[in-house]
């Protein structure tokens, strides 16, 4: 019985409203693509977990996501996103997963991410966010896609910050 109040208090705090997400003044379309590569093997098939999280970040900012399948080298991916864009921006998130070592029971991977947000008419003037997310997987059979899934919360947050910067820049 003595534990009931602290538990309820903790649950109550957990339900407190989060800080308001920055909102774009108009629902601008964002053509978004996500690619996963192995550091040594090249492109790897990924499920939609990371892309779904990025799409959710876009929607949360009153922007309109348009998921586009991209492939090929970096420049081609940007061009595939820009192709057919009428206004709005493009967002390319490229992740490279790399196995590091066994570490006291876990399998350490790093996911190097480069997110580019650009005007489809000015691909060379993109805003770039580069960062590395370490993840520690539990099982040997878990590979690049599992590393990407584990890194997804961090990737989504950093991509969200990139979108926030762009929204602020639009208001200036």
């Amino acid at each position: 019985m003595r534990l009931t109040r602290p538990i309820l208090l903790a649950l109550l705090l957990a339900g407190c409203p989060k800080p308001t997400t920055l909102q774009a003044p108009a629902p601008v379309p964002v053509r978004v693509g996500s690619v996963l590569e192995s550091a040594t093997e090249g492109p790897v098939e990924a499920d939609t977990t990371a892309l779904d999280a990025i799409v959710a970040e876009i929607e949360a900012r009153n922007l309109t996501p348009v998921a586009v399948e991209v492939s090929g080298p970096h420049r081609k991916r940007l061009e595939m996103l820009a192709q057919g864009a009428s206004g709005g921006v493009i967002l390319l998130v490229e992740s490279t997963a790399r196995y590091s070592t066994q570490m006291n029971g876990r399998y350490r991977w790093t996911v190097e991410v480069e997110a580019k947000l650009a005007d489809p008419e000015a691909l060379d003037e993109a805003a770039v966010e580069s960062f590395t997310v370490p993840v520690h997987l539990l099982y040997a059979h878990e590979r690049e896609n599992d590393a990407l899934i584990a890194a997804t919360p961090s990737i989504a947050r950093r991509v969200g910050a990139l979108l926030d910067d762009w929204i602020r820049a639009q208001g200036q």
């Binding site: 534990l3 602290p6 538990i7 903790a10 649950l11 957990a14 339900g15 550091a39 040594t40 090249g42 790399r98 196995y99 590091s100 070592t101 066994q102 570490m103 006291n104 029971g105 876990r106 350490r108 790093t110 590395t132 370490p134 520690h136 539990l138 099982y139 040997a140 059979h141 919360p153």
Partner: protein, 483 residues
């Protein structure tokens, strides 16, 4: 030291990239029952609340960064130890830490998909996270070279090195070690096996090489009465203690692994098995006629075998609401040379641990864990059930000269733990960081079955009374992170 090396590597990043990773665990567990802040003696009852502080930092430096098919090479250096200031009796002093691993790996050299490693060779098939144990581990003590092929459906590893310093320390004697492991993978299933053999040749004249001192009785040795018995039988012959006879030592590990999952509620299940022959000891020392003598014990320690079976299953019981991890561990240790004294080499134990984690929100969870364990000493009594229990032999008779301890050969332990957990990265039994506020209780047939500083002697002149407790309560505020 850690920071200095980190900065050194980071500052040189223009030549290649540095990456710092690691693990920390810190806890405040004020123990109001006279304990040292751990619920029970060891992690047979689940690692939760039975392990202390820990810190580990691993530095990875890309001398040549991996890129496609080009050769690459990286340096790894790992520091670790079990102490953090204010959280344990080591108070974070660096003497509690060690450079546990250093190795350099290189890939795309010679054979496609093969990684060459020189340095520390440790390899494991997987982990039992509930127990913090890795039964299927090879090359734990070995430094040398290995080649590892990592393909999508198979992994093969071959290694060779020296375990002499890892096993002997300052009593170093070369222990060449060779071993191999293989793992095959198809969707939802993995199977693997491996073995290592360690051979320590005799080196005539080397005091650290394997020998055995003849004519010594096992019981005299474990009582520390070899010199006393020698003098009783040979008065005045202190300078003529028996010369040791050379030996050769052999030990091995054989491990197996089966993994499956990804169907129904089973996220993954790891089954590990290990059979080991431990490496024989070298010598112990006693005083004889004012001089220190070495008693070489190869023949007394060359038949210590152990069998370990462990299984851990991770379950998604209710998606995004409730997960579970269930572990079972069995160990059987036998010492063919010892028929007189209880020891960790002559026992069996069995344990099961179940952890449930419910997600009140994505980041606030409720944790509950229970464990049941039995430990049995095969060589007679090894535990004490009461504060005033006299020492008994297995026949129940008092035996002050006996080699047994306490009044029972069995320790039964039950633990229950629970509390609130903050996991900022979301759901998952093993999601980290994890910030936990926990309460735990242990029930044991053994008196004060946790690390403590109680008086245990029944001496009428002791300043402190003995204490009897079979229930142990503990609160914990603790954090754990991988980074």
């Amino acid at each position: 030291m850690l920071t200095a090396l980190s900065l050194l590597l980071m500052s040189d990043a223009s030549a290649g990239r540095a990456d710092v990773g690691g693990y920390f665990r810190v806890a405040a567990r004020p123990d109001l029952q006279g304990g040292s802040g751990r619920l029970g003696y060891w992690n047979l009852y689940g690692r939760l609340m039975n392990e202390g502080s820990y810190g580990m930092v691993e530095l990875r430096y890309d001398v040549l960064e991996p890129s496609g098919d080009a050769p690459w090479t990286t340096l790894h250096a790992r520091f670790e130890g079990g102490s953090i200031a204010g959280a344990d009796d080591g108070n974070g002093f660096l003497g509690n830490f060690r450079m546990s691993q250093v190795f350099i790996e290189s890939g795309n050299v010679g054979i496609d998909k093969v990684t060459w490693r020189f340095g520390s060779l440790e390899y494991f098939f997987g982990d039992m996270g509930l127990y913090d144990m890795r039964p299927a581990t090879l090359f734990f003590n070995t430094v040398g070279a290995r080649a590892e092929y990592r393909g999508e459906h198979a992994e093969v590893l071959v290694g060779i090195g020296d375990a002499g310093y890892g096993i002997r320390g300052f009593k170093y004697s070369a222990i060449p070690t060779v071993g191999a492991a293989a793992r095959v993978r198809v969707p939802h299933f993995e199977i693997g096996a491996g073995a290592e053999v360690r051979y320590e040749p005799g080196v005539l004249g080397s005091v650290n090489a394997p020998y055995h001192t003849p004519n010594v009785e096992y019981e005299d040795w474990v009582r520390g009465e070899v010199a006393e018995r020698y003098l009783q039988e040979r008065p005045g012959l202190e300078d003529f203690f028996w010369d040791p006879e050379p030996r050769r030592s052999l030990s091995y590990n054989a491990v197996g692994y089966l993994g499956f999952g990804g169907f129904g509620p089973i996220r993954w299940n790891n089954l590990f098995v290990r059979y080991s022959l431990a490496h024989p000891d070298t010598f112990t020392e006693e005083q004889l006629g004012g001089k220190t003598i070495q008693i070489y014990v190869h023949d007394f320690t060359d038949d210590r075998r152990s069998f370990t079976l462990g299984n851990e299953m991770q379950l998604n019981l209710v998606p995004k609401k409730l997960d579970a991890a269930w572990g079972v561990l069995y160990g059987d240790h036998s010492d063919g040379d010892n028929a007189v004294k209880p020891s960790d080499h002559d026992r069996w134990y069995a344990s099961t641990v179940l952890r449930l984690q419910a997600y009140a929100t994505p980041t606030i969870h409720v944790l509950a864990e229970g464990s049941l364990a039995r430990e049995y000493s095969k060589n007679g009594n090894n535990f004490r059930e009461h504060h005033d229990s006299i020492f008994e032999n297995t026949g129940g008779q008092p035996d002050v000269r006996g080699l047994e301890y306490g009044d029972t050969d069995t320790r039964d332990t039950m633990q229950l733990k629970g509390g609130l957990v903050i996991n900022p990265l979301g759901p998952g039994v093993f999601s980290r960081p994890s910030l936990r506020a926990l309460y735990g209780v242990q029930l044991s047939n053994v008196n004060n079955a946790f690390g403590n500083a109680f008086v245990v002697e029944l001496d009428q002149y002791d300043d402190f009374e003995t204490v009897e407790q079979h229930v142990h309560h503990l609160l914990a505020l603790e954090a754990e992170v991988w980074f």
